[in-house]
């Protein structure tokens, strides 16, 4: 990779962990960014909050467990993880049990967050 100017990037995740390939694609993109020393932040919106459900085990489905892979993100210096507070409440989720430490945000705050980045990647 060329030493291009760094950009600030937010990955906006919107889909459930196993209903499509998008959760895995976003995770891979986040890990690749870290590997190339380009920092990214994550926002879990809408059904993507379900990726943060504790006690996931997708091995019986023959797939890697998304929740467990998310837990490894801080090892790659991905530490700014935001979550749609309303969506988490809709699914009655206890975010203190999520595999990642997250910061809950309301709709207005999510907009404020998003305008602070050069690029938004919607998964």
């Amino acid at each position: 990779m060329t030493a291009a100017t760094k950009k600030t990037v937010l990955l906006v995740l919107r889909h459930s962990p196993y209903g499509s390939g998008l959760a895995k694609a976003a995770l891979d993109a986040a890990l690749a960014s870290a590997a190339f020393d380009q920092s990214v932040d994550l926002l879990f919106m809408g059904d993507a909050v379900l990726q943060l459900q504790p006690d996931q085990d997708s091995h019986p489905l023959g797939m890697k467990t998304i929740g467990r892979q998310l837990a490894s993100l801080p090892l790659y210096d991905i530490n700014h993880v935001y979550v749609d507070a309303q969506a988490a409440a809709r699914y009655n989720m206890d975010l203190s049990k999520a595999p990642l430490q997250t910061r809950p945000l309301g709709g207005h705050d999510m907009h404020q967050l998003m305008v602070g980045y050069d690029h938004l990647l919607g998964f």
């Binding site: 919107r14 919106m45 809408g46 309303q86 709709g107 907009h111 919607g122």
Partner: protein, 96 residues
């Protein structure tokens, strides 16, 4: 300021999430199944107009879908119009 692109029908989670983020100063381009949100006299087009964002629809997609009765606040654009919007807005969020 965010350029939103919506490629999902008004009954989708994508629509709901998109609307929850849209704010004055943003723009929204309806494409694919997103064009149905522009239908005049619907709850969806009313919801969009209440966000105070600028609203656009891809002409070719609207024609394909037979969406001709547009809510007053929605302007038709072609592909060049979409490119122009990406020139103006520094970032885009794709909702689908």
């Amino acid at each position: 300021m965010i350029l939103h692109t919506l490629n999902a029908s008004p009954s989708s989670a994508a629509f709901t999430d998109c609307v929850s983020i849209m704010a004055k100063g943003d723009a929204l381009v309806l494409m694919g199944d997103g064009v149905y949100a522009a239908l005049a006299g619907t709850e969806a087009s009313k919801t969009l107009q209440e966000t105070d964002a600028s609203l656009y629809i891809m002409t070719a997609d609207a024609l394909a879908a037979g969406v001709t009765n547009l809510a007053a606040a929605v302007s038709r654009i072609n592909m060049e119009g979409l490119v122009t919007l990406t020139e103006t807005f520094p970032r885009q969020q794709a909702w689908y």
